[in-house]
Assembly symmetry: C2
Homo-oligomer: 584 residues x 2
Amino acid sequence: MKARPLKRITSLLPILGWAPAYTKTDAQSDLVAAVIVTIMLVPQSLAYAMLAGLPPQVGLYASILPLIAYAVFGTSRALAVGPVAVVSLMTAAAVGQVAAPGSAEYITAAITLAFLSGIVLVVMSVLRLGFLANFLSHPVISGFITASGILIATSQLKHILGISADGDTLPHLLGGIYAGIGGLNPFTLAIGVAATAFLFWTRKHLKPLLLAWGLPARMADLIAKAGPVAAIVVSILAVIGFGLVDKGVRIVGEISAGLPPFALPSFDPGLWQQLLLPAVLISLVGFVESVSVAQTLAAKRRQRIVPNQELTALGASNIASALSGGYPVTGGFARSVVNFDAGAETPLAGVFTAMGILAATLCLTPLFRFLPQAVLAATIIVAVLSLVDFAAIRRTWAYSKADFAAMAVTILTVLLVGVEAGITAGVSLSLALFLWRTSRPHMAIVGQVPGTEHFRNIDRHDVITDPRILSIRVDESLYFANARALEDAIYDRIADQPELRHVVLMCPAVNTIDASALESLEAIAHRLASAGIGFHLSEVKGPVTDALKRSDFMEHFKGRIFLSQFEAVTTLTGMQHQDDAATG
Amino acid sequence: MKARPLKRITSLLPILGWAPAYTKTDAQSDLVAAVIVTIMLVPQSLAYAMLAGLPPQVGLYASILPLIAYAVFGTSRALAVGPVAVVSLMTAAAVGQVAAPGSAEYITAAITLAFLSGIVLVVMSVLRLGFLANFLSHPVISGFITASGILIATSQLKHILGISADGDTLPHLLGGIYAGIGGLNPFTLAIGVAATAFLFWTRKHLKPLLLAWGLPARMADLIAKAGPVAAIVVSILAVIGFGLVDKGVRIVGEISAGLPPFALPSFDPGLWQQLLLPAVLISLVGFVESVSVAQTLAAKRRQRIVPNQELTALGASNIASALSGGYPVTGGFARSVVNFDAGAETPLAGVFTAMGILAATLCLTPLFRFLPQAVLAATIIVAVLSLVDFAAIRRTWAYSKADFAAMAVTILTVLLVGVEAGITAGVSLSLALFLWRTSRPHMAIVGQVPGTEHFRNIDRHDVITDPRILSIRVDESLYFANARALEDAIYDRIADQPELRHVVLMCPAVNTIDASALESLEAIAHRLASAGIGFHLSEVKGPVTDALKRSDFMEHFKGRIFLSQFEAVTTLTGMQHQDDAATG
């Protein structure tokens, strides 16, 4: 009896599960991983804050306390939380609706969004609503991320070109770039293109090169991952050395150094109402992304994550982000993989990373002053273009037109209308297509495979049928949306077959029959009876039979329920012979 | 080749199908039915117009041209269209949102609503969207009608009591009656109670009594149906004879006589926007009601109706109603049954009824001037209380808690919030519950029934299992909402069974596998492979196999697809023996 409360506490605070057994070896692994992730996360935090329309230090704030909160509550050993590209874009879209970029209200709204998102996640955890994330189908998520990647990359082009351009949708963004292209700054362009090319090169070719030079794999990996740091250092030196600020190259500028502030979200009900839907969407998208990364990594080491506890952990991370002046965060794919590959053994790696970011926030911010925005934009572009997956679009088209439709609508709506509309349209369409499909169930007239007790579709197999018996198999649960389709199919068939004496509905794929379908079965039985035709069921599943017994269906039902279609046909043919003999 | 265009025209204008073969006998039957329906329809038209908050003559207008339009386009031989209780209530709710009762704008809005509803129905017909009505499940429709009946009956109490009271919801209506009960008019109350009691009595007891007196059945029926006419005549005479108007009994008052006016709906886009959702809901509810009545009656005479053509016919009826100063109409249950029982053979009965109503509109309206509103209210109360079906609530509760939940939410929302909110909530909840259920599919671990090739649930049957082979049957199509549930179930089981060598997923109830579920199957195969466990499928349906072949699943898939579970277990056990022999 003593173990149970402890187990409950451990399941609420997973840190209690691993912390007592923490070893020195673990600490070494975690520290190495933390150093690598910190190097990667500092420029990303600045860049994603810029993408979200926020001052750069807000990105750093969002990379400190949230990591510690996740370490306490999270069940993944390798997940690295913080600002990510897609959520930053969604933040910009949501907050841009309620406040002007650059204003104090904008920052407050971003903090409030993080807080609301945290509340939504915790509420989902308490009410065990994590299953809602299952309704974001794979094609919708994949399309959403691809389209967001395109949108984000396009939105960063203005920084590479050194022009001013605004817009939330692809046509607006492209229109803005087209209109502003005359004001192109050649110095900015040179830095931007060089940084982008360099980052693509380090990502693709640096590690193989270093390995070819004989460096140990670990070291090669570490150097390749530090590519963005090199780009930052070189570009800062170039800006200072060549006095590029005077030549119109835009830089990050003053970043307020110091500890993350203690911040409070706004409690204005009007603002909450405006931000609630975005907060729900950010929570769902963030949760799906985070859990799929965490599950992939956990599977590699035979660990398990607890999706419902992940909701709590991400909720706590977002609340922590809000209270320390940050904006919405979630588990990031790239940084988690880096953390995992670098050997992180426990969530303490996240705590060490948080300390690294804190140190950077306290000491390094003056160094970033001369960092060109174009380099941050290059970091973002290189990161998000890896999210764009055109092959998935082709695969989905080949496999299923319905899935492709959901994906295409998601992509087009994200690009042409916006991120929130895109995910809403994709989810709605995929649900509508599922409902539409189940409302038109596959039905097959079946006959007996000669020499066996099996019954198969007469259109696909050479089978024996009896014109007096119609065996029809319905390949779907019967519920309100398809009950009438069943009626129509049966009525159509009986009109064609005047010798018909019995209809047997074969139900091996019927997992439930709801009240509407029950009414339809009663209507069918009634109508067939008045035409002198018997109506029977076969291969009804246990749970369905149990449910039918709870209704008064059995009292009215004159037909029989056969265990197998073979039994049905044998029995009914036998009865038929007797009838024929009696009348003959 | 000549027959085809003719057949197409006949399917668009069903009147061409029956008119050429029309006989004198048909004409006699239709005329008799028309007389009876006219007698029934005149007071109902006045009453339902009052329920909709419209002047009484609008109810008459809605009972002339729409009947002729239905006769031309409709496929039911017995359906009688016109104003009905539920649609009148929905009209009052919708139009009351945009205009003040009694104003000219109110009448224009009602006309516009009829026009919009007609357009919606015709568009649904052209786009073949009739299947949308299938998403109104039986419990939702039943609950909606019961709750509407209660709401309508309550809303008429004020006329019986002779007080003023307003409200759209049950609490408001009851509150209004409670507040106004002091102003109760005893004369009105006497008339109202007497009329209600008389109408209930004629409906329940008059026909048996007449039959007991030896009257022929047809005559008894006719006299019983004329009950409301008797109540009207007697009450008019009483009002005039006793000078009840001076004693505060409210009467219908002046009704403008004459032909229905030619009217045009408003084309104000703002008004259209406000009325569009109500028009869609009225169209769907009206269509479902009308089609189910028409189907029931058609089945009795072995006729068929064409649901899609019914959309056109109801659309034409509503447009005809709008253009002649009427409001939304649909096929009514009571009057169609009366029409059918009275022997209507063709839709020409409807045309004759229209002429009867037209005659009444031209000649009889002065007579209705002194008709007490309490008598019309009594007609409505008696009509709608027959719609209230508490037994259906009990039956649904016994059969399925999910269906009951949808019904209960519909009823409560209609009573407490309103009709539109009620039907929306009911449909949303029934869809959500369906999705939720399919997102948690029934899965069973199965074993072999001794001595057979059948595999059944190990929890329900005594079966043989092999600890090295896990046979798991999933009783649902695999799609995005349940793909993760399948993964979790399999991962949970493999953790428990260390001797496990093979997992076989038995798919007889899997009707489709979407792209998300395909990803999950790949993930499961990958994960099991890395744990040294084989993953196989069995009893995969033809269409599902075809789909899998279109993807690259088969290229990666290392497992086998067995025709039957028996084959799977036999083959895998054989392989197992070989492996054991090799390692042993």
